[in-house]
Symmetry: D3
Subunit: 121 residues, 6 copies
Amino acid sequence: MPHPFEEFRARRLAGNELVLKTENLGIKRLFSLDKITYEDGVLSRRTKELMGLTGSMVLRCNDCIDYHLDTCVQQGCSKEEIEEAFNIALIIGGSIVIPHLRHAYESLAFLLAERAANTAG
Amino acid sequence: MPHPFEEFRARRLAGNELVLKTENLGIKRLFSLDKITYEDGVLSRRTKELMGLTGSMVLRCNDCIDYHLDTCVQQGCSKEEIEEAFNIALIIGGSIVIPHLRHAYESLAFLLAERAANTAG
Amino acid sequence: MPHPFEEFRARRLAGNELVLKTENLGIKRLFSLDKITYEDGVLSRRTKELMGLTGSMVLRCNDCIDYHLDTCVQQGCSKEEIEEAFNIALIIGGSIVIPHLRHAYESLAFLLAERAANTAG
Amino acid sequence: MPHPFEEFRARRLAGNELVLKTENLGIKRLFSLDKITYEDGVLSRRTKELMGLTGSMVLRCNDCIDYHLDTCVQQGCSKEEIEEAFNIALIIGGSIVIPHLRHAYESLAFLLAERAANTAG
Amino acid sequence: MPHPFEEFRARRLAGNELVLKTENLGIKRLFSLDKITYEDGVLSRRTKELMGLTGSMVLRCNDCIDYHLDTCVQQGCSKEEIEEAFNIALIIGGSIVIPHLRHAYESLAFLLAERAANTAG
Amino acid sequence: MPHPFEEFRARRLAGNELVLKTENLGIKRLFSLDKITYEDGVLSRRTKELMGLTGSMVLRCNDCIDYHLDTCVQQGCSKEEIEEAFNIALIIGGSIVIPHLRHAYESLAFLLAERAANTAG
């Protein structure tokens, strides 16, 4: 049985494919602009993804949190760095962020285990 | 097995019935006021539902999106019109709207297929 | 089979335990500060929980609503008092709150039945 | 020269009069429903205004905060009770609420001085 | 002395010019994408601006409200049509929208008077 | 005449002093917790302030933006780094962020000029 995080990845991928079949150029362009925003610039992709994570958390969007968490872990962020991003989002956004923090910790546990397994391999 | 959108319709109906058993007049009046707001006026119900869809999307509420989408399709809005409403909501609300856009596209696919089947019949 | 509300309680408890394993002091302190806030002061815990419920509802957070509802019922709030809190949240936050109101009524039905059963016992 | 809080009162009054000249019944009805919501019920107006204050603060609306603060002070709430409402809003909404807390403390200082002067008179 | 709405127009123009001096392509592209979104499509610019107005109002952004109001009036929307858009935003967003509704009515009075004067000329 | 940004600094300072006269421990503790959050950790204060800026911008709080901008400039962030933070906030939060972006660019112009003057001295 797939882990809920793997289900999220598959659902997100399928959803984006469905959206991007559109002939509405505005929607396509915003998706493309979104992607470019996180590429290396004067700030590294790594730092940008931590910022995307913070923004997603204060706006309380689990799918956005999961996406940026996934990328943060891929970019080599440590557990402690990610938790400091969590802490910033929690202080900015208050206790209303807590349910999303619980979700984020579950996702993070999966992602760190997956990275450890891949590295070990 | 019912489609998730049909489950949403049933769950919404049952939920509203549960709420409206209340003896709290304020809650009942707001429900009634909400319903009246979208009736034909100097703006058509069709236009109002597209506006309700935009408002629901920028506020990132899937149940509200699904309800207004359902009504937009019933009111004869085309796929392209609805996608322009999506595009407006996406530019106003930014990438944080994307998970709701994915959801909306799934609902829209169901609703357009349902309308086509009904028309064909 | 457990009721969805009991699943929420278990999931919330497990999630908080996972979070609080952290060595990030800022996160732990905010959890602790959050808990203290609702203790009896010049306002009673009962009144504070009703305020927490209103705040959770206008911010549209189901887990937060469920938590404060649970505590409101434990604190002896009547159905009618809770519904007046619902009404305030609904007028402040508008129709976008309705899906959360439906959720809250389902949770409330469970909690009132549970309290009645416990009292009867 | 009028105090900024008195200017707020005048501006709010004039603004509401301008709005309520409308022939749009939906707008008028929502204003009327809003007013009724805070009347004494199974919860007192006093408690309801504290809840309205909390809701306004987590949603970060200075005009709404000022209106409910004004009414809380009229209803005889003490400084300490109002500060506990502030504390609840601050913990729920996080540091993003702080600029509104600063505003609220300025308004509260004016309102408590005004009440003391009126009582002394 | 300029009317506050004229000051808003000047401030907005100067602000956009300052922003668009940037060499950050992402920011420029989002501004350009924003502009294109409201052009005539299968929905008219007029309808899109009413949708932009609704979205701005439920998200409680006075500058955004003023911009879309200005364009709605330029596109020939009647007072009654605009008020139905206000009503939809008010029911969706609740009483927290009221301070923005007061602001919007002040702006609308200026814009309708300006249009009448221009038409009379 | 003081620059608007200097007025902001003075108003913020006076406001915080007014708040912190409180005997409400919860409020004081949250202020203290907020301050600690941005101290150097596994992430540098510099990176954390950029994250605070992003969070403030997507939540659309001018005072919070100004505070974090001020600190980002003090921490030595370049104009280009700050603009990449702006860009991330703009893509996440959408066009509703634009009025706050205009404000942020005005503040940034002041802060960079101030830093240049201080460095030159």
